[in-house]
């Protein structure tokens, strides 16, 4: 299990491959890998978005991500999970979040990945501030899905 708050840009597909490569003891045991990647769009609420600043609450954010993983483990049988979430300055198309789950069969991987992502959005303290052409604005709420 790995949780990371990342201050620098990252390639989610490279991270996915690297993490899977590191799962030496699980080789041959996982039959399913589900992943979700969230990235910064260049348009929101009717205006072009030029960039974003992502803030978190050091300590509380990690604590709640750990708890979300613990809850997921109580509900689904999976072998490993990975969460990487950006903070700091982002540009359009930059990945924001990666969630990945490895399990024996597809149902646990799909369902746990979805649960972790939705729980992260509703409970892990992160805040987005968008940079528009002429000003900055805080994002007030998450999209429903």
């Amino acid at each position: 299990m790995k949780i990371e708050i990342r201050e620098q840009p990252f390639d989610p597909f490279q991270e996915l491959a690297c993490h899977q490569e590191s799962l030496v003891e699980l080789r041959g045991r996982y039959g399913a890998t589900a992943s979700f990647v969230g990235a910064l769009r260049d348009y929101n609420e009717g205006e072009p978005v030029h960039g974003m600043t992502l803030e978190h609450y050091p300590g509380m954010t990690e604590h709640h991500l750990e708890r979300i993983l613990e809850e997921a483990r109580l509900n689904w049988e999976f072998l490993d999970a990975l969460i990487i979430h950006r903070v700091g300055e982002l540009h359009p198309n930059d990945p924001i979040v990666l969630v990945a789950v490895w399990s024996s069969h597809r149902a646990a991987a799909f369902d746990a990945c979805r649960f972790i992502m939705e729980a992260l959005k509703s409970r892990a303290p992160f805040w987005k501030k968008e940079t528009l052409a002429d000003r900055q604005r805080w994002v007030e709420r998450n999209t429903p899905g």
Partner: protein, 77 residues
Amino acid sequence: MAIQVKYFASLRDRLGRGKDQVQAAEGLTVTTVWSQLWPDTPLPPHTLTAVNMEYAGPDHPVQDGDEVAFFPPITGG
């Protein structure tokens, strides 16, 4: 030890600072910590609150050494 208070994101911008300190006293709650610091500013609607990094309601007790945080709805992911 006192009570450490933190503000995040748009609320911090609005208040003009990211942290405060309050002297511990009997019977403090999340709400009374706010009203001691900001007697003329009602807690903005939809503000979330936490004590020692756990989400906590307005009546949650606050004790010496606690960390209390006030922040707007979260928007990660």
